[in-house]
C-alpha cells in the first residue's frame, strides 16, 4: 500500500469526517469514471456515485478505528460502487423506466482540458467503444472497466469481484476478446454497407 493511501486510512481512523472528506477528494473522480463507463449515462453515474459515498460513510461510521485503518480505500469503494450498480440494474429491470440503456452522453460532457489519452482517440472511436461496452454482459463489464478505465491492478479487481486473481484476469481477458469481436463485426458491416 502506498504512502498516500496509508495517510488516508490513518486519517479515517482518527477523525472520520476529515478522513471521509479526503477520501471523497481523492477517489470521487475514479468512482464517477467507473460508474459512467458501466452505466453509460452521466446522470446515472452522478446519482449512483452519490449513493456509493453515502453507503461508504454509513458503513464507516459503524466500523471500529482498527478496521478503518486496515481498509484499502480504492478497492473497498469500488466494491461498493459495483454493488450499487448491480442493485440498480436489478431494480431497474424489475421496474423499468425507459427502454434506453445508454444515452450517448459523452457528446454532452463539458470539455474540460482533454488529456492526451482523450485526444488520441477521436470521438467516433470512443463512441463505438462505449456502445460496444454497453453490449457486454454486466459481469464482464465491471472487471474490464475497473482494469482499463479506473486503472486498478488485477489484485484490486479480484478483491472487488470477490474472486481469485486468476479469475479476474480471465474475466478481463474474455471481456476484451468480446469487445474486439463486437468492434470487429461492426467493421465488417461497415465494409459491406459503405
Amino acid at each position: 500500500m502506498d504512502k498516500a493511501a496509508e495517510q488516508l486510512t490513518d486519517l479515517l481512523a482518527t477523525d472520520l469526517d476529515d478522513g471521509f472528506t479526503e477520501l471523497v477528494r481523492v477517489h470521487a473522480k475514479g468512482v464517477h469514471a467507473f460508474l459512467l463507463r458501466v452505466s453509460g449515462s452521466a446522470a446515472e453515474a452522478d446519482d449512483l456515485g452519490q449513493d456509493t459515498f453515502l453507503r461508504a460513510y454509513t458503513a464507516l461510521r459503524t466500523y471500529a478505528p482498527e478496521r478503518r485503518r486496515a481498509l484499502r480505500p480504492r478497492a473497498w469503494l469500488m466494491t461498493i460502487a459495483a454493488n450499487v450498480w448491480r442493485n440498480h440494474v436489478r431494480s431497474s429491470t424489475r421496474r423499468p423506466v425507459s427502454a434506453i440503456r445508454v444515452d450517448d452522453a459523452q457528446d454532452k460532457w463539458p470539455d474540460v482540458n482533454p488529456g492526451p489519452a482523450e485526444r488520441a482517440l477521436n470521438a467516433d472511436d470512443r463512441g463505438r467503444l462505449v456502445a460496444a461496452l454497453s453490449e457486454l454482459p454486466e459481469f464482464y463489464r465491471i472487471p474490464v472497466v475497473l482494469r482499463h478505465v479506473v486503472g486498478m491492478s488485477y489484485a484490486e479487481v479480484a478483491q472487488v469481484q470477490g474472486c481469485p486473481v486468476g479469475t479476474a484476469k480471465a474475466q478481463v481477458s474474455r471481456a476484451m476478446g468480446d469487445l474486439r469481436r463486437l468492434l470487429g463485426t461492426e467493421e465488417e458491416l461497415r465494409e459491406v454497407t459503405p
Binding site: 469526517d17 452519490q50 459515498f53 488529456g115 467503444l129
Partner: protein, 274 residues
Amino acid sequence: MNGRKDHDGPPASQNGGGPAGELGTPPVPVDFALRVLRRVGIPRERYDTYVRMDSPAGGLFVAFTPESVTGSAPATSGLTSERFEESHRARTGRSAIPAVKPFPGLTTALRTGRARKLPLDPGPVDEVTAAVLQAVRAIPAGQLRPLSWIAREASSVSGGNTDALLGVLARNPFVVLVPCHRVTYENGAPCDAAYLPGVGDALRAAEGIDMAGVRQWSHSGAVFLGSDTTHIYCHPTCAHARRITAPHRVPFATARDAHRAGYRACKSCRPVSV
C-alpha cells in the same frame, strides 16, 4: 500486496496514455465531490473549497472557507489541480474540494487588483509573517514599495530584518492576492520572490506600472520625488507623485536631502522621514 506475480500499477495502456486505458478517463463534473459531501452531510466548516480563476498572470487556484480565503497558487508552471489540493492539504491540514462558485468579491478583486478588503486567513502563522503579509497588502494597486518600507510598516514585530522579510515573501501563501509583486529592492528592481519569471512582470503590466520608467528613475540615483509647489515628497509610484507635472518634479536621493530642502513626507505613501 499478495505474493503472487501481478501487475502492481495501472495497466500499461495500449496507446501510452498513462492510467487512462483504451477507453480514456471521462471528464467528471467539477462539483461532483462537493455534492457528495453535501449529500452525506459533512459540516461545511470541515473542508475548504477552491476554484480556478483567471488572473493577468494566467490561471490561479484560490481556496476558501465560507468566511475567508485560505490560500492561492498560480495554475501555471505545471501545477495541476491535484498538486494544488495536495499542497493545500500539506500547508493548512484541510482538504480542498473543487467548486464552481468563487468566493464573494474574489472576481472583482482579481479584475481590479484591489484585494485589500478580501478577508484572508493564513491559518496558524507566526506574528512576523502575519505582520509582513498585512504590510504588503497595504500597497495600493499600481504602486511599488521598497523592502525597507515593508520592514518599517511591519517593524513592531519584525525588527526591520529584510532577510527574514524576503523569506516570508517567498513563502507567500496568497500569491497575487497579497501583492508581493509590488515589492522592490532598494534600487527599484522588483523582488519577485514568490513568482516564476515573467509572472511578476505580467501582473505589474496589468496594473499599468511603467517598469521602464521606474528603471530609468532608479538609474538616475533618485529615490523620492517631490513637488516644488506643495513641498511634499513621495515614493515615485505614489498616486500623488504621478500627478506632479514635469516642470515641478524635484528628485531626491535621500530623505535627509528632502528634509534639508524644506520638504515633508507624503502622508499617503509614507516614505521614510527624518
